[in-house]
């Protein structure tokens, strides 16, 4: 993870921590919240436009990295579906005492079914842990960007960012 986005296509922890789109540690403890992993300046601001609560700020120029105002974020997930780069996630660290929820965009066919066990992967696409599909939402408003929510053991909530494309269990 040390090398960074230009070399590997994956942001390093350093790049992620430097991004203004991450919620702070306190906010992470309090319910679902957006987790914006946008680390490169490209002209783009649909996340700012779509948020109904003004919790995301890009401003001008539109190459600014999005800044998350955790206190305003309700964890509705609209930004997760709106981001053209598919790099916004929603995490709910304290879903239960031992598990967290991670919601991520998944533009593939087929979609897994709610209740199924799935193989969850990290940013490198490597399997980390099995999880349970808690919700799959694909309303017309998302324009073919379905969002999947998986329940995983708490220690993986910062790692799990998708599921394996092939096997659903």
């Amino acid at each position: 993870m040390a090398k960074g986005i230009k070399k590997t296509g994956i942001p390093s922890w350093k790049e992620l921590k430097a991004s203004p789109g991450l919620p702070d540690a306190d906010r992470l403890e309090e319910g679902p919240v957006a987790f914006i992993e946008c680390v490169q300046e490209i002209p783009c601001n649909p996340c700012e436009d779509v948020c109904p609560f003004g919790a995301i700020e890009v401003g001008s120029p539109i190459t600014n990295l999005p800044k998350l105002y955790g206190k305003k974020c309700t964890g509705c997930g609209l930004c997760v579906a709106a981001c053209p780069g598919l790099v916004i996630f929603k995490v709910h660290k304290n879903y239960t005492d031992s598990t967290s929820l991670v919601e991520f965009p998944f533009e593939y066919h087929p979609l897994p079914k709610t209740g199924k066990t799935v193989r969850c992967v990290n940013r490198e696409g490597k399997f980390v842990v099995e999880g349970k599909v808690v919700k799959v939402r694909n309303p017309k408003q998302f324009d073919a960007t379905p969002l999947i929510t998986v329940e995983v053991p708490k220690k993986y909530f910062l790692e799990v960012r998708s599921i394996e494309r092939k096997r659903w269990g």
Partner: protein, 105 residues
């Protein structure tokens, strides 16, 4: 292989309602799709052989610019299969070299 279910484009509802004859073999195709697409869907990749060294060639640019995909269609050689639509009953032949003009009936 046809992409029947696509996460963005949805279901492919077109029917393979045309038949083309490729080197004597009957292949199902969708009327109006490019010949190259029908061949690709049927797993056919070699479209012609080069004049001097008899080497295999197939689709390269897929938009009618490079002429790598040409075949003999209904007796006419050097037809760009990636931009020529399928018609029911079309006779398509793997072209050897520069091809030969045949009388069109």
């Amino acid at each position: 292989m046809r992409v029947k279910h696509h996460p963005i484009l949805g279901e492919d509802r077109r029917k393979e309602d045309a038949t083309i004859i490729v080197d004597g073999r009957k292949i199902k195709a969708i009327a109006g799709e490019p010949i190259a697409a029908a061949l690709m869907a049927a797993g056919i990749r070699v479209f012609r052989k080069t004049p001097k060294k008899n080497q295999p060639r197939g689709v390269f640019c897929a938009i009618g610019r490079c002429t790598d995909c040409v075949m003999t269609v209904n007796g006419i050689p050097n037809v760009r299969t990636c931009v020529t639509p399928v018609e029911d009953g079309m006779v398509i032949e793997t072209q050897n070299g520069l091809g030969k003009w045949r009388e069109i009936r």
